[in-house]
Symmetry: C2
Subunit: 143 residues, 2 copies
Protein backbone atom coordinates (compact mmCIF):
# COMPACT_ATOMS: atom_id res chain seq x y z
CA UNK A 1 0.00 0.00 0.00
CA UNK A 2 1.34 3.39 -1.01
CA UNK A 3 1.94 5.83 1.83
CA UNK A 4 3.67 9.22 1.92
CA UNK A 5 5.76 9.79 5.06
CA UNK A 6 5.12 13.54 4.85
CA UNK A 7 1.31 13.26 4.42
CA UNK A 8 -0.80 14.33 7.39
CA UNK A 9 -3.65 11.99 6.39
CA UNK A 10 -1.29 9.03 6.02
CA UNK A 11 -0.07 9.85 9.54
CA UNK A 12 -3.67 9.89 10.80
CA UNK A 13 -4.34 6.49 9.18
CA UNK A 14 -1.14 5.16 10.79
CA UNK A 15 -2.24 6.73 14.11
CA UNK A 16 0.95 8.76 14.32
CA UNK A 17 -1.32 11.82 14.60
CA UNK A 18 -4.53 11.56 16.66
CA UNK A 19 -7.94 12.19 15.09
CA UNK A 20 -11.59 11.96 16.09
CA UNK A 21 -12.11 8.64 14.32
CA UNK A 22 -15.51 7.54 13.08
CA UNK A 23 -15.12 4.51 10.82
CA UNK A 24 -12.44 2.33 9.28
CA UNK A 25 -12.02 -0.82 7.25
CA UNK A 26 -9.29 -2.25 5.02
CA UNK A 27 -9.72 0.50 2.44
CA UNK A 28 -11.36 3.50 4.09
CA UNK A 29 -10.96 5.77 7.10
CA UNK A 30 -13.29 8.53 8.35
CA UNK A 31 -12.72 11.21 10.97
CA UNK A 32 -13.80 14.73 11.89
CA UNK A 33 -12.18 17.64 10.07
CA UNK A 34 -10.29 19.63 12.73
CA UNK A 35 -11.10 22.87 10.87
CA UNK A 36 -14.83 22.30 10.28
CA UNK A 37 -16.81 24.47 7.86
CA UNK A 38 -19.81 23.52 10.03
CA UNK A 39 -20.07 21.32 13.16
CA UNK A 40 -19.84 17.63 12.24
CA UNK A 41 -17.81 18.26 9.06
CA UNK A 42 -16.42 14.79 8.34
CA UNK A 43 -13.67 13.48 6.06
CA UNK A 44 -13.74 10.08 4.35
CA UNK A 45 -10.45 9.00 2.79
CA UNK A 46 -8.78 5.96 1.25
CA UNK A 47 -6.15 4.47 3.57
CA UNK A 48 -3.77 4.35 0.65
CA UNK A 49 -2.10 7.54 -0.52
CA UNK A 50 -3.45 8.93 -3.77
CA UNK A 51 -3.10 12.61 -4.51
CA UNK A 52 -6.18 13.05 -6.71
CA UNK A 53 -9.24 10.99 -7.55
CA UNK A 54 -8.30 10.40 -11.19
CA UNK A 55 -5.25 8.43 -9.97
CA UNK A 56 -7.37 5.99 -7.93
CA UNK A 57 -8.49 2.58 -9.21
CA UNK A 58 -12.25 2.79 -9.69
CA UNK A 59 -12.90 -0.28 -7.55
CA UNK A 60 -10.95 1.19 -4.65
CA UNK A 61 -12.86 4.47 -4.86
CA UNK A 62 -16.06 2.39 -4.87
CA UNK A 63 -15.03 0.56 -1.69
CA UNK A 64 -14.43 3.93 -0.03
CA UNK A 65 -17.61 5.66 -1.22
CA UNK A 66 -19.84 2.69 -0.31
CA UNK A 67 -19.71 4.11 3.23
CA UNK A 68 -21.16 7.49 2.24
CA UNK A 69 -24.89 6.70 2.67
CA UNK A 70 -24.38 5.41 6.22
CA UNK A 71 -21.97 8.19 7.14
CA UNK A 72 -24.35 10.85 5.82
CA UNK A 73 -27.24 9.28 7.76
CA UNK A 74 -25.17 9.30 10.95
CA UNK A 75 -23.90 12.87 10.48
CA UNK A 76 -27.45 14.06 9.79
CA UNK A 77 -28.83 12.28 12.85
CA UNK A 78 -26.02 13.46 15.12
CA UNK A 79 -26.05 17.10 14.02
CA UNK A 80 -29.73 17.59 13.19
CA UNK A 81 -28.70 19.34 9.97
CA UNK A 82 -31.11 20.07 7.12
CA UNK A 83 -28.91 18.84 4.28
CA UNK A 84 -25.40 17.75 3.37
CA UNK A 85 -22.85 18.65 0.69
CA UNK A 86 -20.36 16.04 -0.39
CA UNK A 87 -17.29 17.69 -1.90
CA UNK A 88 -14.02 16.31 -3.19
CA UNK A 89 -11.41 18.78 -4.49
CA UNK A 90 -8.62 17.86 -6.91
CA UNK A 91 -5.59 20.15 -7.29
CA UNK A 92 -4.98 23.54 -5.73
CA UNK A 93 -7.11 25.39 -8.30
CA UNK A 94 -10.08 23.39 -6.97
CA UNK A 95 -9.32 24.21 -3.34
CA UNK A 96 -7.41 21.03 -2.43
CA UNK A 97 -5.15 21.74 0.55
CA UNK A 98 -4.02 18.24 1.63
CA UNK A 99 -2.63 16.16 -1.27
CA UNK A 100 -4.30 12.89 -0.18
CA UNK A 101 -7.77 12.22 -1.68
CA UNK A 102 -10.43 13.23 0.84
CA UNK A 103 -14.19 13.47 0.61
CA UNK A 104 -15.80 16.25 2.64
CA UNK A 105 -19.20 15.57 4.23
CA UNK A 106 -20.49 19.03 5.16
CA UNK A 107 -23.68 19.33 7.27
CA UNK A 108 -25.79 22.33 6.28
CA UNK A 109 -28.13 24.59 8.24
CA UNK A 110 -29.78 27.90 7.40
CA UNK A 111 -27.34 30.79 7.82
CA UNK A 112 -24.24 28.63 8.20
CA UNK A 113 -20.86 29.95 7.09
CA UNK A 114 -20.19 27.91 3.93
CA UNK A 115 -21.38 29.46 0.70
CA UNK A 116 -20.92 28.87 -3.01
CA UNK A 117 -22.37 30.57 -6.05
CA UNK A 118 -24.07 28.84 -8.99
CA UNK A 119 -23.19 30.79 -12.14
CA UNK A 120 -24.89 28.40 -14.57
CA UNK A 121 -24.06 29.32 -18.15
CA UNK A 122 -25.05 28.00 -21.58
CA UNK A 123 -23.18 26.45 -24.46
CA UNK A 124 -23.20 28.36 -27.74
CA UNK A 125 -25.05 26.60 -30.57
CA UNK A 126 -23.34 23.29 -31.38
CA UNK A 127 -20.72 23.57 -28.64
CA UNK A 128 -22.34 21.11 -26.21
CA UNK A 129 -22.21 18.32 -28.80
CA UNK A 130 -18.58 19.10 -29.58
CA UNK A 131 -17.66 19.01 -25.89
CA UNK A 132 -19.47 15.69 -25.42
CA UNK A 133 -17.63 14.25 -28.44
CA UNK A 134 -14.27 15.32 -27.00
CA UNK A 135 -14.98 13.75 -23.60
CA UNK A 136 -16.44 10.61 -25.21
CA UNK A 137 -13.29 10.13 -27.31
CA UNK A 138 -11.12 10.45 -24.20
CA UNK A 139 -13.29 7.83 -22.46
CA UNK A 140 -12.98 5.49 -25.45
CA UNK A 141 -9.21 5.84 -25.50
CA UNK A 142 -9.12 4.63 -21.88
CA UNK A 143 -11.46 1.63 -22.24
Amino acid sequence: MKTDPDCVFCKIVAREIPAAELLEDDDAFAFLDIGPLTPGHTLLIPREHYTTVDEMPGDLLARVTQHLPLLVQAVQAATGCDGVNILQNNHRIAGQLVPHVHIHIIPRRPGDAWTFNWPASEYAEGEMGKMADRIYRELERRC
Copy 2:
Protein backbone atom coordinates in the same frame (compact mmCIF):
# COMPACT_ATOMS: atom_id res chain seq x y z
CA MET B 1 -36.12 -0.13 -10.49
CA LYS B 2 -37.66 3.00 -8.95
CA THR B 3 -38.39 5.83 -11.35
CA ASP B 4 -40.28 9.10 -10.90
CA PRO B 5 -42.41 10.07 -13.91
CA ASP B 6 -41.97 13.76 -13.08
CA CYS B 7 -38.18 13.62 -12.69
CA VAL B 8 -36.13 15.26 -15.44
CA PHE B 9 -33.17 12.96 -14.82
CA CYS B 10 -35.37 9.84 -14.94
CA LYS B 11 -36.62 11.17 -18.30
CA ILE B 12 -33.03 11.61 -19.51
CA VAL B 13 -32.18 8.03 -18.47
CA ALA B 14 -35.33 6.81 -20.29
CA ARG B 15 -34.31 8.96 -23.31
CA GLU B 16 -37.60 10.83 -23.18
CA ILE B 17 -35.51 14.01 -22.96
CA PRO B 18 -32.29 14.26 -25.01
CA ALA B 19 -28.93 14.81 -23.35
CA ALA B 20 -25.28 14.95 -24.35
CA GLU B 21 -24.57 11.41 -23.14
CA LEU B 22 -21.10 10.31 -22.09
CA LEU B 23 -21.33 6.94 -20.35
CA GLU B 24 -23.88 4.39 -19.21
CA ASP B 25 -24.13 0.92 -17.72
CA ASP B 26 -26.77 -1.00 -15.77
CA ASP B 27 -26.48 1.32 -12.77
CA ALA B 28 -25.02 4.63 -13.91
CA PHE B 29 -25.54 7.34 -16.50
CA ALA B 30 -23.36 10.38 -17.28
CA PHE B 31 -24.08 13.42 -19.42
CA LEU B 32 -23.19 17.10 -19.76
CA ASP B 33 -24.96 19.59 -17.49
CA ILE B 34 -26.95 21.88 -19.79
CA GLY B 35 -26.32 24.81 -17.42
CA PRO B 36 -22.58 24.35 -16.92
CA LEU B 37 -20.69 26.18 -14.18
CA THR B 38 -17.66 25.78 -16.45
CA PRO B 39 -17.30 24.13 -19.88
CA GLY B 40 -17.32 20.33 -19.60
CA HIS B 41 -19.37 20.32 -16.35
CA THR B 42 -20.56 16.70 -16.21
CA LEU B 43 -23.24 14.91 -14.20
CA LEU B 44 -22.97 11.27 -13.06
CA ILE B 45 -26.20 9.78 -11.72
CA PRO B 46 -27.69 6.44 -10.71
CA ARG B 47 -30.26 5.21 -13.26
CA GLU B 48 -32.61 4.48 -10.40
CA HIS B 49 -34.45 7.35 -8.73
CA TYR B 50 -33.15 8.26 -5.29
CA THR B 51 -33.69 11.74 -3.95
CA THR B 52 -30.63 11.98 -1.70
CA VAL B 53 -27.45 9.98 -1.20
CA ASP B 54 -28.37 8.75 2.28
CA GLU B 55 -31.31 6.85 0.73
CA MET B 56 -29.08 4.89 -1.65
CA PRO B 57 -27.77 1.39 -0.95
CA GLY B 58 -24.02 1.70 -0.42
CA ASP B 59 -23.22 -0.93 -3.03
CA LEU B 60 -25.27 0.89 -5.67
CA LEU B 61 -23.52 4.19 -4.91
CA ALA B 62 -20.22 2.30 -5.22
CA ARG B 63 -21.17 0.98 -8.67
CA VAL B 64 -21.95 4.54 -9.75
CA THR B 65 -18.85 6.20 -8.28
CA GLN B 66 -16.47 3.55 -9.66
CA HIS B 67 -16.70 5.53 -12.92
CA LEU B 68 -15.42 8.77 -11.38
CA PRO B 69 -11.67 8.26 -11.92
CA LEU B 70 -12.12 7.54 -15.63
CA LEU B 71 -14.68 10.31 -16.09
CA VAL B 72 -12.44 12.84 -14.34
CA GLN B 73 -9.48 11.76 -16.49
CA ALA B 74 -11.56 12.19 -19.65
CA VAL B 75 -13.01 15.56 -18.61
CA GLN B 76 -9.53 16.82 -17.72
CA ALA B 77 -8.06 15.64 -21.02
CA ALA B 78 -10.95 17.03 -23.08
CA THR B 79 -11.10 20.43 -21.40
CA GLY B 80 -7.45 20.96 -20.48
CA CYS B 81 -8.56 22.10 -17.03
CA ASP B 82 -6.17 22.48 -14.09
CA GLY B 83 -8.30 20.69 -11.50
CA VAL B 84 -11.74 19.29 -10.80
CA ASN B 85 -14.31 19.60 -8.02
CA ILE B 86 -16.66 16.71 -7.39
CA LEU B 87 -19.81 17.93 -5.65
CA GLN B 88 -23.00 16.19 -4.60
CA ASN B 89 -25.72 18.27 -2.94
CA ASN B 90 -28.45 16.83 -0.72
CA HIS B 91 -31.60 18.85 0.02
CA ARG B 92 -32.39 22.41 -0.96
CA ILE B 93 -30.36 23.93 1.88
CA ALA B 94 -27.30 22.33 0.27
CA GLY B 95 -28.13 23.69 -3.19
CA GLN B 96 -29.85 20.61 -4.62
CA LEU B 97 -32.16 21.68 -7.46
CA VAL B 98 -33.12 18.34 -9.09
CA PRO B 99 -34.38 15.74 -6.56
CA HIS B 100 -32.51 12.80 -8.17
CA VAL B 101 -29.03 12.08 -6.80
CA HIS B 102 -26.43 13.63 -9.11
CA ILE B 103 -22.69 14.03 -8.81
CA HIS B 104 -21.23 17.19 -10.37
CA ILE B 105 -17.82 16.95 -12.02
CA ILE B 106 -16.71 20.59 -12.37
CA PRO B 107 -13.56 21.39 -14.38
CA ARG B 108 -11.59 24.30 -12.92
CA ARG B 109 -9.39 26.95 -14.50
CA PRO B 110 -7.91 30.19 -13.10
CA GLY B 111 -10.50 32.96 -13.06
CA ASP B 112 -13.50 30.74 -13.79
CA ALA B 113 -16.93 31.67 -12.50
CA TRP B 114 -17.48 29.11 -9.72
CA THR B 115 -16.36 30.17 -6.27
CA PHE B 116 -16.78 28.96 -2.71
CA ASN B 117 -15.40 30.20 0.57
CA TRP B 118 -13.61 28.09 3.19
CA PRO B 119 -14.58 29.47 6.62
CA ALA B 120 -12.73 26.80 8.62
CA SER B 121 -13.61 27.06 12.31
CA GLU B 122 -12.51 25.27 15.47
CA TYR B 123 -14.28 23.17 18.05
CA ALA B 124 -14.35 24.50 21.60
CA GLU B 125 -12.39 22.42 24.13
CA GLY B 126 -13.94 18.93 24.38
CA GLU B 127 -16.57 19.52 21.70
CA MET B 128 -14.84 17.58 18.91
CA GLY B 129 -14.80 14.42 21.00
CA LYS B 130 -18.47 14.84 21.90
CA MET B 131 -19.41 15.32 18.24
CA ALA B 132 -17.42 12.22 17.23
CA ASP B 133 -19.16 10.21 19.96
CA ARG B 134 -22.59 11.31 18.72
CA ILE B 135 -21.80 10.37 15.10
CA TYR B 136 -20.18 7.09 16.18
CA ARG B 137 -23.28 6.10 18.19
CA GLU B 138 -25.48 6.82 15.15
CA LEU B 139 -23.20 4.64 13.01
CA GLU B 140 -23.36 1.82 15.58
CA ARG B 141 -27.17 1.97 15.66
CA ARG B 142 -27.19 1.37 11.89
CA CYS B 143 -24.65 -1.52 11.73
